[in-house]
Symmetry: C2
Subunit: 130 residues, 2 copies
Amino acid sequence: MIIRDYNEAKNTSRKVEAEGWTSVRLLLKEDGMGFSFHITTIHAGAELPMHYQRHLESVYCMSGKGSIESRLTGEVTQIRPGICYALDQHDPHILRAEEEMQMACVFNPPVTGTEVHDASGAYPLPADDA
Amino acid sequence: MIIRDYNEAKNTSRKVEAEGWTSVRLLLKEDGMGFSFHITTIHAGAELPMHYQRHLESVYCMSGKGSIESRLTGEVTQIRPGICYALDQHDPHILRAEEEMQMACVFNPPVTGTEVHDASGAYPLPADDA
């Protein structure tokens, strides 16, 4: 059994940051679960164009308020606690936070933790490792 | 993109119940994500021996208080918000809730939603579909 504590992990290299978001990777590929599991905080006011070209991702909103816009269809869906979205088509999208949002995210295939980040700190567009 | 709302889904057949717990399956096998994603509520006072023999499961505590005991090692870990456990060895375990706990659960392979439940409403021991 693997035990991880978000409140410890957020002070370690499991926490990654970019402009507009921070993500704490509680389970990575090396854990052998076949998915990775991240607690991601989207900062208030963030507007994040994203496109996971090699991963499927599901996101469950635990707190906060915002929206997601599909860049395939233009459709905008409000996000609030209890909303889950799944990018089953590798959908390019824009995530917006009106208030800080805390999200539980699952990636398949699992993130390894060594994916390259945008060193400029710019918006992660196309990103593959939130 | 798939959008699901916990607050709607909990009033549909996505919600399954047994003694001590209820689970709302927001993503199932048919969604094609390669995992299933459930919001599971463990009722206060529940003591649930479980053993997922065919699935790997990770669980993230969003609220509440309890513990998990490994039936392999006897080790007991306190559960509170922010704790994540992953049953990477198909670990048989006992989950106990001191207070109602709400958990975000990921299963690999994904649950189909048609797994057979214990019709008696008894503890799900060995269960494969929480």
